[in-house]
């Protein structure tokens, strides 16, 4: 059977004791695609990832990876040999150097000694860690550690790369470098799955995104489609003062397609921002107002009633 699906799930389900982590989700990730799972902490992203990379049992539904059944445990070794996994938490071997970490892990993929050495060299270069090759892992910066984790995940030359929150906790520059590495990977035609709660990351890297909340996929599509389907093009973002009261702004609401009242701000979703911002400047000169493009954060806010940080 010819298939272009890399990972396909139908009714995928997983519960822990009395808590449903993943509640019957469907998705179909294509070969060569970069697919993102976006959602707040506890939405079920990591559990979904762990089921895909076969370290957590499938609780229900079906899961196929490259057309093969992955809901049992029978073919796990073969399936895992096709995947590269970069988990969320740092689990590098702190007692070993950069090179040793890669050399030891390369052994797990059953390569010959010569192939192993070549591959480890490639990965040290890919991760820009040539100068750090003999340093112990504990002496590396957060960004270097994350690049080493990615390099370790790529040792087996995987067809499918799974990254769980690859840039969480990194400073903007380190994050930028990780994104460059992931773009490089995309050029090599690997299928990428990543989770994130940064919408900027999802917009920049992903072809399609599944927004998850409370164990379910609440929206699925390309970043642009999601924004178009769920919110308007622009947002007028008005910041209220300390004693800010949204009531005074009510007369403006008629001009917007949708209004979102937050604790310290009011968001007005509009297609034509210029006339509205002019009106704000005229009628409420004391308030800070700015126009910005609508983002996935706004989509998430609309669908779930709260922001990605909340």
């Amino acid at each position: 059977m010819a298939t272009t699906s890399a990972v396909r799930a139908q009714g995928l389900f997983r519960a822990y004791d009395d808590f449903v982590a993943v509640n019957g989700i469907d998705f179909d990730i294509q070969v060569g695609e970069c697919f993102g799972f976006l959602g707040p902490n506890g939405a079920g992203k990591t559990t979904t990832m762990r089921m895909i990379y076969r370290t957590s049992p499938v609780g229900g539904g079906t899961l196929e990876i490259f057309g093969r059944d992955a809901s049992g445990q029978g073919a796990d070794r073969d399936l895992k040999a096709m995947m590269g996994v970069v988990p969320q938490l740092d689990n590098l071997d702190q007692e070993m150097t950069v090179t040793e970490n890669l050399t030891v892990f390369a052994r797990f993929y059953g390569m010959s000694k010569k192939d192993r050495q070549t591959r480890v060299e490639e990965m040290i270069e890919f991760a820009d860690l040539v100068d750090k090759r003999d340093s112990l892992v504990e002496t590396l910066s957060g960004g270097m550690k994350r690049r080493l984790m990615i390099a370790r995940g790529l040792l087996g030359d995987p067809k499918l790369v799974i990254l769980d929150e690859p840039t969480t906790g990194l400073d903007p520059r380190a994050r930028q470098r990780i994104w460059e590495k992931l773009s490089e990977l995309r050029k090599r035609n690997a299928t990428l799955i990543l989770t994130t709660h940064y919408m900027e990351e999802a917009e920049r890297l992903c072809d399609r995104i599944a927004i998850m909340d409370a164990g379910e996929i609440v929206a699925l599509g390309s970043p642009r489609d999601l924004i178009q389907a769920h919110v308007s093009k622009h947002v007028v973002d008005i910041r209220l003062g300390f004693d800010g009261d949204a009531k005074a702004l009510k007369p403006l609401y008629g001009d917007a397609k949708r209004v979102e009242e937050l604790q310290d701000r009011v968001l007005l979703y509009v297609d034509d921002a210029e006339s509205l911002i002019a009106r704000v400047a005229h009628e409420f000169p004391e308030l800070d107002a700015l126009v910005r493009q609508a983002t996935l954060d706004d989509v998430f806010l609309k669908i779930t009633g709260r922001g990605l940080d909340g």
């Binding site: 370290t55 049992p57 070794r77 073969d78 689990n91 590098l92 050399t103 797990f108």
Partner: protein, 262 residues
Amino acid sequence: MRLPGDIDLGAATSVWWRNVTVYKHTWVKNILPNFFEPLLYLIGMGIGLGYYVGAGIESSDYLAYIGPGLMAAAAMNGAVFEVTYNMFVKMYFARLYDAYVCTPAQIQDVAFGELMWAVTRSLIYGFGCFVVLVGLTFYGYPIITSWTAVFLPVVVIMIGCLFGLIGQLFTASIKTIDLYSYFYTLFVTPLFLFSGIFFPTSRFPYGDEIAWFTPLYHGVRIARAFASGNITTEMWVSCAWIVVVCAVLFALVPRRLKKRTF
């Protein structure tokens, strides 16, 4: 290559190799205590205390009596430390096993690799003790008196396997690292004292009968038999005991570990 229990020997060797790699960083510093410890026990207990045990025990000199048993204890200690504190740290604090099972390796491969390493440590400890025993024998204390002593490394491997598996089972069953103090004070230390290393287990009422159900007792019996060349039926019973218990634990450990990690 696959071993019984769907263990991939290549993946297990990778886990073993990881431990060798880390050990290579510090082995120069760590190797010496392996010689000092048995030497101190043999001098303190064997030559010091032994002076007052003039008649010896079971028709052998006191030093010769305790020598092989101390080697069995060294093998136990070598294995146990690796699969208790060290394994717990790797599993829960360093999350290394999570990283291993993201490769094609499965948890049973990881467990077997750690067991191989525990046995390696037993051999390192046991070898240190063996060298001291041979040295003292040449010095004039008749500890190793038979060619059958060439089988002592096999005894060390058996003891390493046995205690490696016991420790793994314990590690796979606990949730906090504090519980190891019970493992050491209520299991390892009593075994060291009451397995017939320093005095016959028959010293206490039902001592033999109780000791028969404990692991180190059999290791000591086998070690003593091979050191002296006094090969008895009891020794073969002890060999069988260790093999059977190892087989049971071998089936049990991966199942337990899987519950904790998968």
